[in-house]
Each structure stands twice: as structure tokens, then as C-alpha cells.
Symmetry: C2
Subunit: 303 residues, 2 copies
């Protein structure tokens, strides 16, 4: 019996979806850390070379590795980092005439270690990205075909397992990742969320404001079917789903949308969503008078 | 004139305190990222070796580098990571009998890259730590003597420059880092904060609850003097200050403290601090009835 139990546990550990969940979570967390590191690096490096500004932060980390001490500025090394020769030239000129601080040996070591860590992080993320692409393609090929590997993996991570995800209705899938807004809606009556993770789909996120909800709904229904195929039948039906989706997208985009109702005499709800009554904020609504100390008054009611 | 302006800018860039500020901020941010990575690694690695549990997360990252594939478990390598031979033996035994998942080559690459990044991060932090120690010792020797390099550097980072920090009164230094609680106090009348960054001093943080405020105050006054010496006179007066501090500490620790006032008939304030009226929460105060929907009612007042 113990042997049997061990086997069962082992088989449930044996599923690759757990690894995919860990990977996508690690990917998202590390991406956030990397963004912070890049911001810090730009600020730090700016003390030494305030004139050098690059849009691409990953390139800045590379540049910091070759362009550090004032005495050893090397044009070839800069050109090795910046593909555009014009940009390399401009950076070289700015660096040689920089009014920034001289870099002492200790500071150099600290800065270079930091820049190098940013580069390693970037490299690790690229590797993890490859794994996520491969694993998501194996575990949920239909869903990946309809969305992309990141969104599919994030849906899986939110649900916790393929089984739970495949059992979810389309409406739940539509709102996965919008839990905070959903509970705010349920508790305080704010406007309900229309999309969660699937907002990251360009077809949903870039849609017209009034059509986004419909787009999210259309995608969620098809993703729901795709997930069931991924988990149960293992058939590849995504091409047909995609065709259906394109038809719905077309219908949604050509649909006439009624203009929003104008401002009612009284605000209709006490929610935290976007104002529907045409006023930008409460001060405007109250004729510029504002509510003096409104927040604490509201609080005192509790006592 | 342009030359003169460039020189002025260069000299203000030339101050090492800016580098120290960047370093301590980078250190704190990266430490937070590393903690996240360690948590993620423990969860991820746990899928392969659920039986292996280590208290020290840095060691877990090292262990993941040598103990990965099931087929190549090597007792010497494990002993190379874990100094304690008994622990190494127990990990070896657990690992060989593990019911965790088999590690495929792709997964292995992803996990090892992640563990390796955690190790690099750890190494970078150690280097940065060395730099912060050295730089803080150079820039603010008196303050470092009274506190430690991290706290001194954090105070500097909060203030923005030595000049501003040296001009601050002791009360401001006492509350640096407690801005959120301070403004909550000013806006909503909650209890005022008693300490900010200096809570991290063991002498303050580990003091008796009723004496912590006094300790924080005593430290803040001496730190304030030390900062002035660091920035203006550059004398080393910290030994005398430390002696004075020890006398105050002794006085505070032997001082008799009046018991707290008992619950007043009505709560005295509508603040968000700790309740002074003897009730743990509002429900208890209302005789277990609670306030149904109180939060949204409070909100509706605004309309």
C-alpha cells in the first residue's frame, strides 16, 4: 500500500505542467527584478556618463562593461556593443568629453558586477523563455496556437493545474488574473472587470475601448474549448477555432455600438470604476468646491 | 563661463556619496529580488526532490547545481556543498530514494540557469556589501561607528545628500523611513511613528516595547551630532558619543515606566494605529455584532 501511495504521488509530481508553472512564475518575477535593475543601472551609470543615454537598457548594461574608466575609452569596443556606427560614434564623442565623475577602482568593481548581473539575468530569461515556449507547446498546443506561450502558461499558473483550468467556464477564464477587480466589484459594487490575463493579447488590448469586452469574451470562449481539447482529447483543433475567432472578430469590429448613455441626474453607482457621468473627478462635480476632509469623515462613520 | 559651469557640475557629480546612495539602493532592491528567487527555487526544486529541505536558501542553490539528475547523484559532490557530513549523508539518502519527478534535459537546463543566477546574485551582493562598508566608512565614519554601514547608508539615501542629512534635526532623523506612518498620523490622526530606519538597530528594535521610543530618540540625537561631525568638521568624535549613548541607554533601561492608561469611555481618535481602548477589533467592541457593509456605507457618504 505504501508503495502504491508513493507511486501515485510520484506520478502526480511527474507531470510537466508543474514545471511550466514554476517557470512562468520565475520568468515574470525575474523580468520585474530585471526592470528594477535596469532602472537602477541607468541612474548609477548616469553619474559617470550623464551624457550617454540609450533607449535599450540591455544595451546599456553591455555598454557599461566596456565603457567604464575614463582613461581607457576604446572606440572599437563601443562599436562592438552598438551595432549602429553613427550611434557608437556619438556615444564615443560624448564619453570622451563627459563631465561625469571619475570612476575609482572600487566603484568600478561594484558597478561592473551590477551590470554583469543584469546581463546574466537577461541571458537566463532568454533560456527560460525557450523552455516555456517548448513546454507550453507540448502541454497546451491548442491554447498556444490561439494566444501565445506566455499567456497560455500564465493562465495555467493562475489555475494551478491543467485539470482545474480545463474545467473552468469561459467566463472564469476571461477574468483569470483580474481577481482583485472582481472582488472589488462584488464587495463594493464598482464596475466589473472585463478581462484578466487575456488583456495581454494584442487583439484584446489594442481593440477599441467599447469592443474590448466583446473581444475578450470571444477569445475566452474559444480558449475554453481549446483547453478542453488540450487536456482531454489531445486533438489539435486550434486551426478551426482560429477561423471561427476571426469571423467573430470581424463581426465585433463591424458591429455598430450605441453611444454611451449621457450623464444621469444622479450618479448610478458608488463604485470605484471609471466615472460614467461625464465628470473627471468629484471636485468638478461639486462645482469646484470639493469635499473638505471627506476621507476622514467617511472613516469616522465606523466608530 | 561655460567652462566654469561644467566644472561646477563635474565637482557636484564628483562626490562619492551619490555612488553610495546608488549602491545601497541597488543592494536593498537586489536583496528583495534574491529572496523572491530563493522562494521560487525552493518551490521549483521541491518538485524534483520534495524530501530535501534546507534552512539556508543560498546552500539550496548550490545544492541544485550538483544534485540534479537522478542518474548522476554523487555523494562527494553533495559533501562539497554541505559542510556538515551528517546533513550531507541525510540529503544523499533522501535524494537516492526520492519520489520526485525525473528531470528532463530541457528542464535541467532551465532550473540550473535559475539556480546559477541566484548564486551570481548572491556573489554580487557580497561584493556590493564590501563596497558599501568601505564607502560608508569613508563618508560618514562617526555615524557608522554609532550604527552600522547599512543603516548609515540608508539614512543618506533617504535624505539624498550628506548636506541635507547633516542639516536635519534629530527628530527628522529619528523618523526617516517612516514617512508613510507619519503622513497617516498627520492626515488621519493615527498614532505617530516612533522610529524609521533606526528601528533596524538591534538596540532599538530589540528594546522593550515601552522603551523603544526613548531609545530611538537617544540614538537619533547622537546620530544627528555624528552626522554634523562627518559632514562639517570631519573630526572623529564617535567614541565619546558612544559613551554618552551607553549612559543614556542605561538610564532608559532602568527608568520606571508608568503603566499605560486604561481604556477611556469613548475611543479618543479615529486613527488607524493600534487600538488603545483594549479591544482587539471593532467586532469585539460592538458586542460581536460587527458593522454590516460598513465599508461601502462609508464610501457612499461621498456622493
Amino acid at each position: 500500500m505504501i508503495k502504491g501511495a508513493r507511486k501515485d504521488i510520484a506520478s502526480s509530481y511527474g507531470n510537466e505542467e508543474h514545471i511550466l508553472i514554476q517557470s512562468i512564475n520565475a520568468f515574470n518575477e525575474t523580468t520585474r527584478s530585471l526592470n528594477l535593475m535596469h532602472e537602477r543601472l541607468a541612474e548609477w551609470y548616469g553619474i559617470y556618463y550623464p551624457e550617454v543615454r540609450l533607449g535599450n537598457m540591455a544595451t546599456l548594461a553591455d555598454l557599461a562593461m566596456v565603457l567604464n574608466e575614463r582613461s581607457s575609452i576604446n572606440r572599437e569596443e563601443i562599436e562592438g556593443v552598438l551595432a549602429d556606427p553613427q550611434q557608437a560614434d556619438s556615444v564615443y564623442k560624448k564619453a570622451t568629453a563627459s563631465i561625469g565623475r571619475e570612476m575609482g577602482p572600487e566603484e568600478k568593481a561594484a558597478l561592473l558586477a551590477f551590470a554583469d548581473l543584469a546581463r546574466s539575468t537577461n541571458k537566463m530569461l532568454a533560456g527560460l523563455d525557450t523552455y516555456i515556449k517548448a513546454a507550453a507547446g507540448r502541454i497546451m498546443p491548442n491554447t498556444v496556437y490561439l494566444t501565445n506561450d506566455k499567456i497560455a502558461a500564465e493562465l495555467l499558473a493562475k489555475a494551478g493545474s491543467m485539470e482545474r483550468l480545463a474545467m473552468m467556464p469561459a467566463s472564469t477564464i476571461q477574468l483569470l488574473g483580474a481577481e482583485k477587480a472582481l472582488f472589488k466589484h462584488i464587495k463594493f459594487g464598482s464596475r466589473p472587470p472585463k478581462y484578466g490575463i487575456i488583456f495581454k493579447l494584442p487583439e484584446v488590448g489594442n481593440a477599441q475601448r467599447d469592443r474590448r469586452g466583446m473581444m475578450a469574451r470571444a477569445y475566452a470562449t474559444k480558449i475554453c474549448i481549446a483547453l478542453k481539447a488540450d487536456h482531454f482529447s489531445k486533438n489539435f483543433i486550434a486551426e478551426k477555432l482560429k477561423k471561427d475567432l476571426e469571423a467573430s472578430t470581424k463581426r465585433i469590429n463591424t458591429k455598430e455600438i450605441k453611444p454611451r448613455p449621457q450623464r444621469p441626474a444622479q450618479p448610478q453607482h458608488g463604485g470605484w470604476g471609471r466615472r460614467q457621468d461625464g465628470f473627471e473627478n468629484r471636485r468638478q462635480q461639486w462645482g469646484g468646491k470639493g469635499i473638505q476632509g471627506g476621507r476622514s469623515k467617511g472613516y469616522k462613520r465606523f466608530k
